[in-house]
Subunit: 536 residues, 2 copies
């Protein structure tokens, strides 16, 4: 497959022999050289853009994605391009005066500039940022004045559903550097947050009455997004590496349309890394096995990956020497478990990306990666719903990620985050080792994410002999802990499949927010509650 026409022009100088060598994939240190060769990033008001403007030639050596229109919903199939946006095609005519679109004039945007003070690598802590941080300014007319490719005049006006070109460029390059999808026509689009992207994905892929596949324990809100749409969940059994491909195959191979009252599911929602709530991370082999099952049953995999960069250093126990941080960006990238996107030869993965856990949840900016055909359907939906993420958030992220840190500085930030979360995780696991009664409490140190999943042998609870149910015992333990001054989440809150009963009992603890002293105190309180509940 050839690069699109827009890139052809720019590639003329790249190869001067008739035998075209396979180009190198984009790497962190190759971005600035590659940008010199690409067309200029579009800078007009609501300028159209797409990832093809920014992908490197390596992408185009790969085959195209499969077609998935047979998976689209009635709603999604009915979406058409916006009538008014088609008129924008005429705006290219030189000298044309447009009285067509109702865009307000930027003179009425009451923001002259926006400054953000941000960390300068490697001084990432709040204290260092105060001292050595850099102030970045987005002015109203930076583009006109040649100072930037994105400014307030553009950010404060209407935009495209893809997001603004300069930020789309950054996330496209980032996607290629980290995941290098193995098919050619992948695309990114920014989203108004990952939760919104998931809601849209469900409306795009499912009909009322459908089942979707989820891990047997999953992010409660993700299931609660699905239920009101008339969807049910088939929960896939898990082990410490997350969902079990054999179990998934089993559910799908033995799907009984009549008994379930629904067609066979065709969407898998999974959190492969640092799963919420279990903390499980699927290994590369596990992912390959799951992908094969998805191919066998023609499943779309929605890969929700907010915790991908919260992969931590190996857990080594309290007294062992900590593992030193990755020495280079290459080593860091290699240390990351490969994503479903990186093995997606068919284009059946919809990857939900989020800045919430690595920059700020309040930005309400995320992005998705999927095949061009699928992304186009998302965009048609966004155009008449969210329109695009906030331009104020987009310009702040662009200034920080692209103009200030660049890909290299962003990876430094992510490595720093990895080390911080490693310390946090270690505090929690150490506290568990120190305090929890091992007779009834079991856990694995999580390799990624924010969550620690504690299994409790509920069948040893004295309430059993009194005829108490799983739910009652879980509640007793939960409320005793609350009375003792510690809040953990009940495992049952995260069970989306209402057709099955719960065999085990879990509690979820997060190490994301509290200090290590507070974590120690909290786990000590939880341990005391467990002892009193189980009469230990």
């Amino acid at each position: 497959m050839s690069p699109p026409a827009a890139l052809d022009v720019n590639l003329v100088g790249v190869t001067d022999t008739s035998t075209v060598p396979v180009p190198d994939p984009l790497a962190v240190n190759g971005v600035s050289a590659w940008r010199q060769k690409t067309a200029k990033v579009p800078t007009g008001v609501a300028a159209a853009c797409n990832s093809d403007m920014f992908k490197s030639p390596a992408c185009y050596t790969k085959p195209k994605a499969k077609r998935f229109e047979h998976r689209f919903s009635v709603e999604s199939k009915a979406r058409k391009a916006s009538t008014l946006k088609t008129a924008a095609g005429y705006l290219k005519n030189p000298g044309l005066i447009s009285l067509g679109g109702g865009l307000p004039s930027s003179e009425y945007f009451p923001f002259e500039h926006l400054d953000i003070k941000v960390p300068t690598a490697p001084g990432f802590s709040p204290e260092e940022t105060q001292k050595t941080g850099t102030v970045l300014r987005a002015g109203k007319h930076d583009i006109q004045e040649g100072k930037s490719v994105y400014d307030l005049e553009i950010a404060l006006n209407y935009g495209q559903a893809t997001g603004a070109a300069p930020l789309l460029r950054f996330v496209t390059e980032h996607t290629e550097i980290i995941h290098a999808p193995p098919y050619s026509d992948w695309q990114c689009t920014l989203t108004a947050g990952s939760t919104y992207a998931w809601d849209t994905a469900l409306r795009l892929l499912c009909e009322r009455g459908d089942y979707i596949l989820m891990e047997e324990y999953t992010f409660a809100s993700a299931a609660e997004t699905a239920f009101p749409l008339g969807l049910k969940v088939a929960g896939i059994p898990m082990d410490e590496q997350g969902l079990l491909p054999e179990a998934m195959d089993d559910i799908l191979s033995n799907w009984d349309v009549k008994a379930r009252g629904a067609r066979k599911p065709h969407v898998l929602y999974t959190i492969p890394t640092g799963q919420n709530p279990t903390g499980a991370t699927q290994t590369a082999d596990r992912r390959r096995a799951v992908y094969k099952v998805a191919q066998k049953h023609d499943i779309i995999i929605v890969e929700d990956e907010p915790y991908y960069f919260l992969q931590m250093q190996p857990y080594v126990g309290e007294d062992a020497k900590p593992v030193p941080p990755p020495a280079t960006h290459e080593e860091f990238i290699k240390s990351l478990v490969p994503s479903f996107l990186s093995m997606d030869v068919d284009g059946r993965v919809v990857r939900l990306e989020s800045f919430s856990k690595v920059i700020s949840p309040g930005s309400r900016v995320g992005w998705i990666v999927a095949s061009e055909q699928v992304i186009e359907r998302f965009i048609r939906n966004f155009e008449v719903s969210s329109q695009n993420p906030s331009g104020i958030a987009q310009v702040a992220l662009f200034k920080l990620l692209d103009e200030h840190w660049g890909h290299s500085g962003y990876l430094d930030w992510l490595i720093n985050l990895r080390m911080s979360y490693t310390t946090r995780r270690d505090s929690l696991v150490h506290a568990c080792e120190k305090h929890l009664p091992r007779e009834i409490a079991h856990w694995e140190a999580p390799a990624a994410g924010m969550f620690h999943w504690i299994k409790v042998d509920w069948r040893k609870h004295p309430g059993i002999s009194a005829g108490k149910t799983h739910g009652q015992i879980e509640e007793d333990i939960f409320l005793t802990a609350v009375d003792a001054g510690v809040l953990l989440s009940r495992g049952s809150w995260f069970k989306p499949d209402h057709d099955t009963v719960e065999e085990n009992m879990f509690f979820r603890a997060t190490f994301a927010a509290a200090s290590s002293e507070k974590i120690d105190e909290a786990i000590s309180r939880f341990a005391a509650s467990l002892r009193s509940q189980f009469g230990l």
Copy 2:
């Protein structure tokens, strides 16, 4: 009805006699005194809040809204409160350490402060802002440091679907000052933009196969939001004051379920002020008549009002003396046509509010006003979709609107905008008077909005005798104008009802974006195109 318990406490000092007088409605100059009496605005991470915290006692002298659950969709009725958010109730326990929620720690938000330079009243122009503008700072820990009630620590973290309390307070007060809804239990919630709010409203109120009511010409995107949801549009005939209540009554009274293949519509979408595309503004009497029809047929009115504050000075012609601006805020508020919300004794209005036309479309922050019952359903949807508008945009708006301008400064800004749009409108109407061939072109000067609607006597077009259709003639005129260097929008783009044929032909011109010189040149080009097309 009594004020809610939270307010009771604060009202103790307000009345010291046993006969409680009817309190005065909230006015611009009464806000700061009232704020002294209310509970403190909540400032925690994702702190819960609602408009009742901020409404004045005058609201509670009014009856409650009617119930509208019979209008809710299957999807909306199925929505439940978030499992995880219910756990937040325990956070009030003193001394509790929470390892429950997965909120990232603010030390990992790489923004130390955010500054915006904004206009200082009355220096609203970009030039004046550069010279006399004020720099407003949102720091990371302003709340802890006693500097503000909203800061980056809060804005950059997860939030509530209502939006952050300090900004919700501002829009609640603004709503009371401008509209004083005539029932007690109205609520506001922020939205991730009005387009998203409309998409949500449709999913909340309609089922596939339903018809909704719209003006016979309406904002194309609003209709395109509805179509993929399986909705059809019954267009209501209009005159220069917008939709005709008799025609609406007629459609509803004679609704033929069998012929239409759908139940009688129960949702009216209307743009009452400066309607897009027609520029029509419904008078107070017209609105009252429409409201009566809505009551008769139990219709929910979705009032989309982005142009409410683009109501302009009366049009007086090129040589007449311009009408001086409103002298006071009271005079300004009185000059505004009353909203449907202001006459909504039943609580059947869902008012979609937007900052897009008065502050910035790129903020992607709007709000809605409706009865508590309806707002609660919106919130349940937002929680598992948009979550909340971007915190970065919210904090910028809060700093500008609440901390800097206050209600008084915001009204000054809106008056300034009114005068600017009056000048722009006048330029366009003058250009039409100067250039357009009155034999075939007709228009009314719009009283509000961004749009001018030009009717063309298409039956006088020579193409008629050659058997050309309405669509062909419209396209000929459009393309001739494009060739002449001017882009207007075709009226047919805005016709959402696909069951009826178009009797008339229109072109829409906006005066929002181009300068008066460009507008004059553009209309002169359009006039020449019309003359050549009609052989004049």
